[in-house]
């Protein structure tokens, strides 16, 4: 379980996060929703210790983040984190060099799943394919938790479909996933849990199925209520 407690973060004078708390369970897909600039990415970076928080705590399975945690949790940012001049094969080699949790057979599977050629240079790939390589590098790690920042933004429709397929596959199964999005439609049926953010705080945190069952509301209904009501 990832527990985020009372995160606060200021950029200059702007209070981006003002006491954000939520939890994300293993085996569930948790979705952070909010308009752009609301601090979704900052939360993910905070969990990964890629940007310092002003205050608050983050526990991953009850423990603070350490260098070994990076074998248990990975972050897939919205842009690829590899050197553009590398080929896909070199990028995979790099991952294998440093991560014990790198699963090469899964990487190979993903490669064919996404129909990527490993001798291609990252810089020569289309936007959609670059996003797929980015996803591949994260998904091929045998980690318990996956953080994905806007995996669907700015990508063509076919790539979106392929990426969406990933969420219903064994590639994500049993892991805890946190994704951020500002646009819920495509993935509404994929997610277990929603965390609605605005003005640096969590407005509502709920399970999608429970919401449908108990109140008969879709995620968009709740969003409409929360943001406009």
């Amino acid at each position: 379980m990832i527990e985020v407690k009372e995160l606060k973060k200021k950029f200059g004078r702007k209070q981006i996060l003002n006491g954000v708390s939520f939890t994300a369970n293993k085996g569930e897909i948790t979705c952070l929703i909010g308009i752009n600039g609301v601090g979704k990415t900052t939360i993910l970076k905070g969990i990964m210790n890629l940007t310092p928080m002003n205050s608050g705590q983050i526990f991953i399975d009850g423990k603070n983040l350490s260098k070994d945690t990076y074998e248990k949790i990975t972050f897939i940012p919205d842009a690829i984190t590899m050197i553009p001049t590398m080929t896909i094969a070199q990028a995979m080699q790099f991952m294998q060099d440093y991560y014990k949790s790198w699963n090469q057979s899964r990487a190979t599977e993903l490669l064919s799943f996404f129909r990527l050629k490993q001798e291609d240079k990252i810089s020569s790939l289309s936007k959609g394919n670059t996003a797929k390589v980015n996803l591949l590098l994260g998904l091929a790690l045998d980690v318990d938790y996956l953080l994905m920042d806007e995996p669907f933004s700015g990508i063509d429709i076919f790539s979106r479909e392929q990426i969406a397929n990933v969420f219903t596959s064994h590639l994500v199964e049993d892991r805890g996933v946190i994704i951020t999005t500002h646009e819920i439609n495509d993935i509404e049926h994929l997610i277990d849990k929603v965390v609605l953010l605005d003005n640096g705080i969590v407005l509502k945190e709920f399970s999608t199925e429970e919401m449908r069952e108990d109140e008969g509301k879709s995620v968009v209904d709740v969003m409409r209520e929360v943001y406009q009501g």
């Binding site: 890629l50 990076y70 590899m82």
Partner: protein
């Protein structure tokens, strides 16, 4: 440790292309320089002796004998060395900032590696250190080759042959790069290493606090210099002449190690607690 070594290898690989270009330029410029300077000296001698009938002795008196010194002091030789020095000075900054630039921010990857972040810093420092030593080593290899080329081009009576060490010891800048004694070598490169660590710390200040960090970085550089130079300033500035040279040397070595240690400690703190990707 394993990750550190892999990272060093990785960083070296990343700089390889520019590095090979630098090496190639140096080799070309220095060897071409030897040939051109030798040929022009011989041409000059021929003209003087055969056309203007200047006696050999008088010619030597006026122009001197050709030696590696005139090559070493020429732009052909110094140029590429200056270029390499500038390149590495630039690279001290570039080795960090290129990981932050653009949309493809490789620093995410580096900081999410399951290894201490300090290893990233140490590997970058080691890379710079190793590559600088590599260039200097190449210079050491190039000198005898240059000497040989000069011997082929200039007749015995017109040249002064020098050993590699003589050439180095007579040239101010080569003498800094390749000092005479091994202890001096350690001191020179220790100083260089210290400077790299201080600059790295300043860069990390900037990466952590941005504009405020620039100021902090500059202040840190000043403090580090002040710590290191304090005894020397006291000694020569205030004309106190309090310490004996040996004592001063020991104090400076201790202070140098201290500055390196503080820099590494601060860098570690910044990398783990303050840096923003």
């Amino acid at each position: 440790m394993k990750s550190y070594l892999k990272l060093v290898n990785f960083e070296i690989g990343r700089f390889m292309k520019i590095y090979l270009v630098l090496i190639g330029l140096t080799i070309l410029s220095q060897l071409i320089g030897v040939i051109i300077l030798s040929k022009s000296y011989v041409a000059n001698a021929n003209e003087a002796i055969y056309e203007y009938l200047v006696p050999f002795g008088q010619f030597i008196e006026e122009y001197g004998r050709m030696s590696m010194m005139s090559v070493v002091d020429s732009i052909w030789f110094m140029g590429p060395i200056a270029l390499c020095a500038a390149a590495f000075l630039f690279y001290i900054f570039f080795i960090w900032y290129r990981d932050w630039v653009g949309k493809n921010t490789f620093i995410y990857r580096l900081f999410m590696l399951p290894t201490a972040r300090l290893n990233v810093l140490l590997s970058k420092a080691t890379t710079i250190f190793l590559l600088v030593l590599g260039l200097v080593a190449m210079q050491l290899i190039l000198l005898p080759i240059g000497s040989m080329l000069m011997k082929w081009n200039v007749p015995l009576d017109f040249r002064t042959d020098m050993t590699i060490r003589e050439i180095i010891n007579n040239s101010h800048y080569l003498f800094i790069l390749i000092p005479d004694s091994f202890i001096q070598f350690l001191i020179n490169y220790g100083l260089g290493f210290m400077a790299v660590f201080v600059l790295f710390t300043a860069i990390l200040f900037e990466r952590s606090f941005r504009w405020k960090g620039v100021l902090l970085g500059i202040v840190y550089c000043l403090i580090a210099s002040a710590i290191f130079l304090a005894p020397l300033i006291y000694e020569f500035g205030i004309q106190a002449s309090f310490f004996y040279p040996v004592e001063l040397l020991i104090i400076e070595i201790i202070l140098g190690i201290l500055v390196i240690a503080i820099s590494i400690w601060l860098s570690k703190f910044l990398l783990n607690k303050k840096v923003t990707v």
